[in-house]
Amino acid sequence: MEFFSEIRDSIELLEEFRKAIIESDTVLEEVISGIHRSRSGGYNTEFLDYRSYVYGDDLRFLDWKVFLKSNRYFVKRFEDNKRNSVYLYLDNSSSMFQGNKFFRSLLVLLSVANIFLRMKDDVFVVVSQERIRIKESGQNQLINIIGEIYQNRKESRGDFLGLYNRMPEIAEKNSVICLFSDLFSDPDMVRSSVSTISGTGIYQFIFHIVTKEEMNPSGRGLKLFTDPDSDETLLIQCDNIWDEYRNELRLYTGALNDLLVATGRGKYILCSDDIGLRDILLKFFEKERD
């Protein structure tokens, strides 16, 4: 029975993922019809630099000479204005496993990845220090990878910032990083990281995955709150504190958005569970139109 139950769950999961793909396709068709970017020119552009090989890179661009000399894998990077590297950074810290945030973040990630793939960009999924390249026109591969991530999901200790701060080492200039996170870390440090990354010329889409309850908590009485990421605790009488909290959260996310808008290098997109996937994607494209 357990076997059948798992099968049924998997089928339902795949169904959800396919719906997300279809939804993103639909939105993409609606929004960018006629803005299709031709990339028929191939890889005939100028050499730019080397970078370390990652799983999924085309072996055609592996520099064998360097490998023979250094015994390390490097791939050649070429100047190509029509292709972007897109890094989809998935926060898998413990807090993301509260409620359905992790699954929801996967759905949004899947949709966004599908859009970038459709736009012939190089799409990488970064999770738990792993960087997985999604092959072109690889919707099935994309679903498989996301399904695999979901199946093998595990919480990472600590918050998402540790790895996110190292993204400029991985992502080249003018690339795009999409962060899928609840952003629940020290707000000052989050702002600092986002600011630093913006300064490197990387474009950041911050998908703020958050539950309705986290946006508008309503607990009363004496509570001992525990932060799932840091295990930090707080004993507090919860009456009459939530207005203060909502105000602080608004200030926090508002400051992030202002920061990205001011630098012209990104966008903050709120993805609370009462906002539909279509609305999130439309919001995502608003920036593109701008």
């Binding site: 629940f184 986290e214 009485g221 004496l222 509570k223 709150f225 525990t226 840091s230 009488q237 602080e248």
Partner: protein, 668 residues
Amino acid sequence: MGFTNSTFLYALILAVVPVIIHLFGIKRPSREVFSPLPVLLRIRKKIIRKKKIHSLILLLLRILLVAGSVMFFAGLFVSYPSASSDFSDGCLILIDNSPSVTVNADGRSVLSRIISSVTEYAARKKNQCVSYTVITLSDRKRFDVLSDNVKSDILRDRISAGPKSVNIERDIPEVLATEKDKRYSSIVLFSDMYSHFVKEISGSLRILKDNNIEIEEIGMPAVSNAFIEHIRVERSQEQRINLIVTVENGGESVFYGSIKLFENESLLDKTTVSLAPSDRTEVSFEIPDGKENIRERFFAFRIEGDDFDYDNTEYFYYREGGKGKILLVNGEPSPDETKSEIFFLSNALKSYFGESVRIYSVLEDMLPETPQLYDIIALANVSGIDDIKAGLLLSYVNEGGKLFISLGSRINIREYNNLDFLPADILGLTEADKNTGIVAEDSLFFESVPDILQGIKRVKLNKFFESKVRKDAKVILKTAGGMPLLVSRGYGKGLVMLYTTSVDMDMNDFPIRKNYLPFVSVLFGRMLEGSSERKIIYAKGKEEVSVRVQECRNGSINITGRKSSEVKVLCKQDLSQRMIISFTAPYENGFYKITEDNINAIMIVNPDKSESVLKRTDISEIKKNLNRNQSSIVSPNIIRDGKMSLVEFLLLLCAVVLLSEMFVMNRR
């Protein structure tokens, strides 16, 4: 600021309850994983600071609530200092110098204590009052004295016990009315606080409060005061009477002393009495009955040995034979007693007056030669009145005797008509209509029992003597046909009543009707009352006395007691339009005689019993009440006078605590 029931302040310990709840009543927190904790941590300090202030305010509110409740029940009051600016006429001292200030206790009189208190007060207020105006409330003496001259010897010379008791409610407004042009910076009352003051405590307090009058302690110890509460007479055996005296100790300490019985200033008997405070006992004095010719006796009961120097001698007037003696002259005796002429009259008199009236009956030939020994002589169907009898009766009536004449078949009309004092000429016997009843001509005569007037209308009157009313005579009852039936006439100092039918059932059925007894009681009662040679007037010292008289002249009358005095009289009319004279009784207790043309009376002045109960009100209680009245009251005592029961208090407190807890819990 002060407290009416300071005992309640012990309950302030309850104020620690909220603190204990605050310290130890913390609820177990519920654990919860909360992802946005970093956001919350950023505002933690701000929240905790707010929470601390909030819980501190809550704690303070709870403590205040408990402490406020306690003070509420403790009767918190806030006094206002009396304004004392722009006063140029010094201070006013009111002294209650009622007779009770003569009381001695611990070797000092109340008056001396009051004088000491006044001097101490003046010394204390030296900086506030340069001069004093002193007014004594009982005798209304008034004098001014400089602050430096408020000394005991000066005050002792000027202040003495007054003649009459003091009523704060009456006397202070009167005194202040005479001082209305003055502006005193303070008014203070010195009183012994005896019952005559406190019995109207609320009214008195109102007067004190309204006039912003302070009251001063004079440090009076408890005293004993025995007084005669009641006297009654019982006939113990032949030729002896028992005077039974109820003695009460109206003081606050034990009385051990004696009661002496005097008659006409001579000591007759003495007995020793011991009485606890507020206790009473009966003391009996058995003395010989008076001789036949001694009809009035004057007794005095003097109490010795109590602390109260007030004259509480009780004077007691006793008339031998009670209210009077009635001689019934039977004109138609019968071996069958029920057929005797006086059978119904005699029994009616006995059943109504009982032992208080002595009734004698004789046959018509046995009319005594000394009729003056009797208050009333009733001639019932006496056949004839010869010249000797007529002479005796004439002098009897002239000297104030009362004569009742009822007719019957045996009377000699001619001899009767020869009597000069007869109220009406008798014309002859006539038979009345069977349905003829009796109606009242003078309804006021029966005002005390008005039901008679309806009842006598149904009396079946068979026969009566027609008569013609003489000059000065007054018809009281008449037949339904308008013929006189009961006629009265004042003659000399006496009175004659003529009943033109029989007092037995020969001529009417009145004796077997229910109104016969009230009729006889009113008729003979009025005759005894009016017949008495002397009116008896009971009074208290300086009391306003009213006496009914036949005629009145404004002016003065002589009152003779141990001292003779002339008192002014006023003529008035009572509700029945009868003439009364009004005058003020002397202050000193004792027997007084009033002998004037229009009034012959004995006045007995006795102590006021209410003055004799010396229950002082604790002056601190009065001060509290006074302060409370002069303050803003924040306690419920104004409604309950501080007498809320402990159960009520606890219930209310529980309700308050529960309500506050519910409020707090609801906020969580």
